[in-house]
């Protein structure tokens, strides 16, 4: 039954005891404690008191980032020293794959919320379908459209009673982010962002092909281009947010349309920022450190998977947030 004897077996590297986990814990806990305190100071307490919370947050975050940097540095060093067997490398592959899967499920929650509101909750508020008398009893005059330009609260004339006042005040957007003027299509930023992000998936693939051929020059060039496209995407996205707040009246307070719009595009943008940072670090490793060979480049490969993942999320965003 035994297909291998122990002599043929490459030893699986089990690292010696390490301070990384405890340092990462301290950094993480300080930063989240700081973040939670900042929010509570802002919402429930004295905004002035938030200063010390900010300090805790920044100290924690810095410590956390430094620990993670060191952690990856050590992992890379171990690989260069040849400690990683083929089996260990497969553990890293599996780890990255299932991490990306968990990220997919995180976005799934927000897309699920979007679909639920658009197909069920929204129409029900307007007493369509099986919504019964909700409209007549609570939100008289509310008509459901998507993107929602009038919240139920506004339909009944603003903060009309205690129940809605407790729920906050929602000022709907004047304009949506959906495709508007066909004549001025080139002014529609999401289209440009789609083009940018889709091209960056191609450029990162070309970089990978170059690396597989052993052509480091090609790799560095196309990977650098990918990072650049990522930076441009983030800037365009930031500009779009500025437009939304300054000219469209679309904010986080704009009812469920603003909520879903900013949370979906915001978390996506945050993931682009992370993916871009990952690719930038791989680029620096290649250019400055001379890392990566044709058959050993998992750091890059994992980052590129992550990049393809944020790209695919964007395709869904473009479809369901901007177009449909």
């Amino acid at each position: 039954m035994t297909s291998q004897t122990s002599t043929e077996y490459e030893t699986y590297y089990v690292p010696d005891k390490s301070k990384l986990a405890v340092c990462a814990t301290i950094g993480l806990m300080l930063s989240i404690f700081g973040a939670a305190s900042i929010m509570n100071d802002m919402t429930f307490g004295d905004p002035e008191a938030a200063t010390s919370s900010w300090s805790i947050f920044w100290i924690g975050l810095f410590f956390f980032a430094a620990t993670l940097f060191n952690w990856f540095r050590i992992a890379i060093k171990e690989n260069i020293e040849g400690l990683n067997s083929a089996q260990l490398k497969k553990s890293y592959v599996l780890g990255m794959f299932w991490f990306i899967f968990s990220e997919v499920m995180f976005f799934f929650a927000f897309f699920g919320a979007l679909f639920y509101v658009r197909n069920l909750a929204g129409p029900w508020l307007a007493s369509e379908g099986e919504g019964g008398r909700m409209n007549y009893l609570l939100w008289e005059g509310f008509e459901y459209t998507w993107p929602m330009l009038q919240t139920p609260q506004e339909a009944i004339g603003g903060v009309a009673n205690q129940i809605t006042a407790n729920n906050g005040t929602y000022q709907s957007a004047e304009t949506t982010m959906a495709f508007g003027d066909a004549a001025a299509w080139y002014k529609w930023l999401p289209l440009w962002n789609t083009i940018i992000l889709l091209s960056s998936s191609f450029t990162v693939h070309i970089a990978h092909m170059g690396l597989l051929d052993g052509n480091k020059k090609k790799f560095n060039l196309w990977l650098g281009l990918t990072v650049l496209l990522g930076i441009i995407f983030v800037f365009v996205q930031a500009y779009e947010y500025y437009e939304a707040y300054a000219h469209f009246g679309l904010t986080l307070n704009s009812g469920i349309y603003g909520s879903t719009f900013f949370m979906l595009t915001g978390f996506h943008g945050f993931h682009v920022l992370m993916g871009m940072t990952m690719l930038l670090i791989q680029w620096l490793r290649s250019v400055r450190g001379g890392h990566f060979t044709a058959d050993d480049h998992f750091g890059f490969e994992a980052s590129s998977w992550y990049w393809h993942f944020v790209d695919v999320v964007w395709v869904f965003l473009f479809l369901f947030v901007y177009i449909l």
Binding site: L20, M29, F106, G112, A113, A121, L125, E130, N167, I256
Partner: protein, 526 residues
């Protein structure tokens, strides 16, 4: 072998900096037991208040904090980490691996848990009190009407999720990548199988929970309206997202328990597990079904009739693979040369009581009937039959079963059996009457109740104190075993036990299977 393969370091740094799966497993187990005591103490407050009708000891607001924290601590602090600890200890030894696949991340998964629970428990002393909206934290109770401590609660849930996701990724990588040569998937011990499937569930649903609490956070602090109808959102949306996490979560809790029972019953029946293949397929089927039944927690929320019917039939379907499992366990015992040591007693207790909990679950799955049972003590009785008599009993069985292998000493059998019988009686006295008060109309999560429920509630409280006290006996027995138990040196502590973990020395050396073991033709589970 490298130089690093020495024994454990001395002092505190061994535990803080360790990368050893056995050390990490031990920390998980002790941490979960501490949380079990803490959550148990909260339960004692609840039962003391409910001992008699009328307001006795605590005010209603504090009562609500107790029910909330009891649920959160027991689910996320006691049961889940205890099975992760067991996975850490046993999976590498069961599949012939030198350690977990990613040992440093393994340590991190553990060490973020204690501070996260410290943060959660510290909310008891914050202005406005601890979260008081129930462990299911339905919006708007948990958003519009929540105390300020909800922000810390949200972040601690994020950290618990992070811990679970990293732990699960580690388990998946270990099982998929580090089995000894010849250990094919269908030869893995069933505990490994159930944990592999559990880990998939965790990676799939913990991010959804993170999404739910993030939406809460945004609604509370940044003016979004996910759960507010005034802005076009819907509080019911919260329930959908929560239960999309929450229903797989209950299988996350019970599947490893199934795995434990599938290891122990064959050992003390001295027969191979009946229907190994069908056990694997049943586990996978339960996991799949768990994703399409979430709204059976929400029958009374106002769903379209098509939704009610779909979720009702899908829920009933779960009884089929679960029935396969119960059938297989009983058939394993059939004509076996059975003995009844403490682990086996807890497994048989599990089998009987879990089946009762399964049947009440079937009653609850019927939508029109659930309109009566919803949010009554019947539900409380139901899920304690599966959570306590299911998950906690099997975890207790696991500790008795593997403790001699872990520490090389035998526990006191008489004390163990006493622990079982007191637990069994205490548990049933606590929760069986709750079926009756629930069917008679007593709602859950209230500090006071109508007079006609008085007798059964007093019984419940007495049972709860008995059950709680019996855990002190358990703690004493475990410590006494570790400190001064009768030494055992046989590799195979139980004569009927099978599997790779029984081929290593007793107590298990600090490092096991640094080179993979040789598997004979016999499957590990036979």
């Amino acid at each position: 072998m490298g130089d690093h393969h020495h024994g454990p370091a001395k002092g505190l740094s061994r535990w803080l900096f360790t990368t050893n799966h056995k050390d990490i497993g031990t920390m998980y187990l002790w941490f979960s037991f501490a949380m079990f005591i803490m959550g148990g103490a909260f339960a004692m407050v609840i039962r003391a208040e409910l001992f008699q009708p009328g307001m006795q000891l605590v005010d209603p607001a504090f009562f609500n904090q107790m029910t909330t924290l009891h649920g959160l601590v027991m689910v996320f602090g006691a049961i889940m980490p205890s099975f992760v600890g067991l996975a850490n200890w046993m999976i590498p030894m069961m599949i012939g691996a030198p350690d977990m696949a990613l040992p440093r991340m393994n340590n991190w998964s553990f060490w973020i848990l204690p501070p996260a629970f410290l943060l959660l428990a510290s909310s008891l002393f914050m202005e406005g009190g601890a979260p008081a909206f129930g462990w299911t934290f339905y919006a708007p109770l948990s958003t519009t009407y929540a105390p300020p401590s909800v922000t810390y609660f949200i972040f601690s849930v994020h950290v618990l999720g992070l811990s679970s996701i990293m732990g699960s990724i580690n388990i998946i990588a270990t099982v998929m990548n580090m089995r000894a040569p010849g250990m094919t998937y269908m030869k893995m011990p069933l505990f490994v199988w159930t944990w592999l499937i559990t880990a998939f569930l965790l990676v799939a649903v913990m991010p959804v929970l993170a999404g739910a609490v993030t939406m809460m956070l945004m609604d509370i602090h940044f003016g979004t309206s996910f759960f507010s109808a005034a802005g076009g959102g819907d509080p019911v949306l919260f329930q959908h997202i929560f239960w999309f996490f929450g229903h797989p979560e209950v299988y996350i809790i019970i599947l490893p328990a199934f795995g434990v029972v599938s290891q122990i019953i064959p050992a003390f029946s001295r027969k191979p597990l009946f229907g190994y293949d069908s056990m694997v397929y049943a586990t996978a089927s339960i996991a799949f079904l768990s994703f399409i039944v979430w709204a059976h927690h929400m029958y009374t929320v106002g769903m379209p009739i098509a939704g009610e019917l779909f979720f009702m039939y899908a829920t009933m379907l779960i009884a089929v693979p679960t029935g396969v499992k119960v059938f297989n366990w009983i058939t394993t015992m059939w004509r076996g040369a059975m003995t009844f040591e403490t682990p086996m007693l807890f497994c048989i207790g599990f089998l009987v009581l879990f089946t009762i909990g399964g049947f009440t679950g079937l009653m609850l799955s019927i939508a029109p009937a659930d309109f009566q049972y919803h949010d009554s003590y019947f539900v409380v009785a139901h899920f304690h039959y599966v959570m306590v008599a299911g998950a906690v009993f099997s975890m207790t069985a696991a500790v008795y079963y593997w403790l001699p292998k872990w520490c090389g000493r035998m526990y006191n059998e008489t004390m163990g059996k006493t622990h079982f019988w007191i637990s069994f009686i205490g548990f049933n006295v606590t929760f069986f009457p709750q079926h009756f008060v629930g069917l008679a109309g007593m709602p859950r999560r209230i500090p006071d109740y109508a007079l006609q429920f008085a007798d059964f509630n007093m019984m419940s409280s007495i049972g709860a104190f008995i059950y709680g006290a019996s855990q002190i006996l358990f703690l004493y027995n475990v410590i006494a075993t570790i400190v001064a138990g009768k030494p055992v040196s046989d590799e195979k502590v139980w004569d009927g036990a099978e599997g790779l973990e029984w081929t290593v020395a007793t107590p298990a050396p600090y490092h096991t299977f640094e080179t993979p073991p040789t598997l004979d033709a016999k499957p590990a589970h036979a």
